[in-house]
Every structure is written in C-alpha cells, then in structure tokens.
Amino acid sequence: MIWMTLLLVVLVLAALWASMTTALLRAALGLALTSALLAVVMFSMGATLAAVMELSVCAGLISVVLVSVTSLTQRRPLKEALANRRSRLRRYWPLPLVLIAVGVALSFVHAPVEIALRVPAGDGDVRTVLWSLRQLDLFGQILILLAGVFGVLVLFRKEAKHDD
C-alpha cells in the first residue's frame, strides 16, 4: 500500500511537471512520463494487457505525435519565450497549492462506500471479455480508426493545397 501511494504521488508530480514546465517539448516528455508511470500502476493492479497498451500507445505513439507537433511549431524567439515565462508563472503558481489543498481535504473523507461485489471469480480473462462480450466496442474502435484515417487524409490534403 505504501509503495502504491508513493507511486501515485510520483505520478501526480509528473503530471504537475507536464502542466507547469515552460518548454512545450518538456511538457510532452512529462506527459510521456505520466503515461509510463500510469502503466506501472496498472501493471501492479493486475491490468497487464491495458498496461501494455498504455505504455506502447500512450507513452509511445501519442508522445511521438506531440513531440513532432511541438517541433514543427517551435519558432518562437527566445526573448518572447522568456517574457511569456513570467506571465505563465503568474497563471500557474496557485496550482501546486490547490492540489495540496484538494489532497488534504480529501484525506479527511472517510465516508463508507458501497461497492457491489459480483459473483466471485465470475470475471474471466480479459481477452475473452474483449473478444466475446465487448465485440460491439471493437466494432466501434474500427469505425473510429476509419474516421481517424479520413481525418488525416482530409487534413493533409488541405495542407498540400495550402502550400501551393
């Protein structure tokens, strides 16, 4: 339990760093770190398959996308960035305090929570659940990927025209 709590504290710190650091590139890396830590949390809770997905897709693929977007759009002169840094600090300094306040406030809550317990061991394997019970979601995934492909095609076609 203590290790889990520590892990979660580090997870929140990584997310905090991702949202507060000045350079976008570092923010993207912070997000990747958050994802990786979340994957570790998932793994230690027994969600192996989801942890692998999180690690490869979120910490991997999404970070690649974010890093390439940042590097493609990084053209700001240094002076402007420094000026911006000060105003950023003004907008972000309350965040750690707010987080601590929320954490302390919630640590006093001990209301009983009623949790339904299904038939013990009636849950089965994740692959069985995914492929036999959640087929409709898989179909939805295929559709979303299809829509995503259209999105990429459409957006890139637009870029090509724009450059002419």
Binding site: A28, V65, L95, E114, P120, D125
Partner: protein
C-alpha cells in the same frame, strides 16, 4: 451483495481528483493550443486510472481492462486529429495562441 472498502477507495479517489484538477488547470490557464491538448491528455489519464481502480476494487478487472483498451484507441485518434488541426492553425497564423481566434461574439 455489497462490501465496504472505505479506506483504499478514498485514497485512490484522491489521486484521481488531483490528476483531474491538474488537467483542468492546465487546459484553462493557457492560450497555447498544444498545452490545451496536453491538459486534455492529463484528463484522459485521470479517467483511465479511475476505470482501472474501479475494476480493481469491484473485482471486474477484465471488464475494466477491456474498457480501458477501447478508451486508449479512441484517445489516440482524438489526439492525432486534434494535432492535425493544430498544425493547420499554425501554418495559417504562424502562432499557437488561441486568442487569435476569439472573433465570434455571443
């Protein structure tokens, strides 16, 4: 048939809430499009964490994992499409500042 697990639920819930607040703040306190996207991602992380916790505490981890896998796929597509739109915006305005778009009123 219910059991009570107050202690660990509130511990996990606290961390879920922290991630949620962090993501929301990150989205709302900035004008930078990429940073808004990162805030959204942190929000999605918090929800992913919560779903796994829910599966862990209720003993339905397989179901929770199946849901999380679908959520991750959806998340990727959203990020890719939004990133494409951000690039389009940047090519047009040479800026990532969302304030450049505040033209509509009421």
């Amino acid at each position: 048939m219910t059991i009570e697990i107050p202690q660990s639920f509130w511990l996990y819930f606290t961390f879920f809430a922290l991630l949620l607040v962090d993501g929301l703040w990150c989205m709302l306190a900035t004008h930078n499009l990429v940073r808004i996207l990162i805030g959204l991602e942190i929000l999605m992380k918090s929800v992913t964490f919560f779903l796994i916790v829910a599966g862990y505490l209720s003993g339905r981890m397989a179901l929770a994992q199946a849901l999380v896998i679908t959520v991750i796929v959806i998340e990727v597509v959203v990020v890719v499409v939004v990133a494409g739109v951000i690039l389009g915006f940047f090519r047009k305005h040479d800026s990532l500042d969302v304030e450049n778009t505040r033209s509509m009123k009421g």
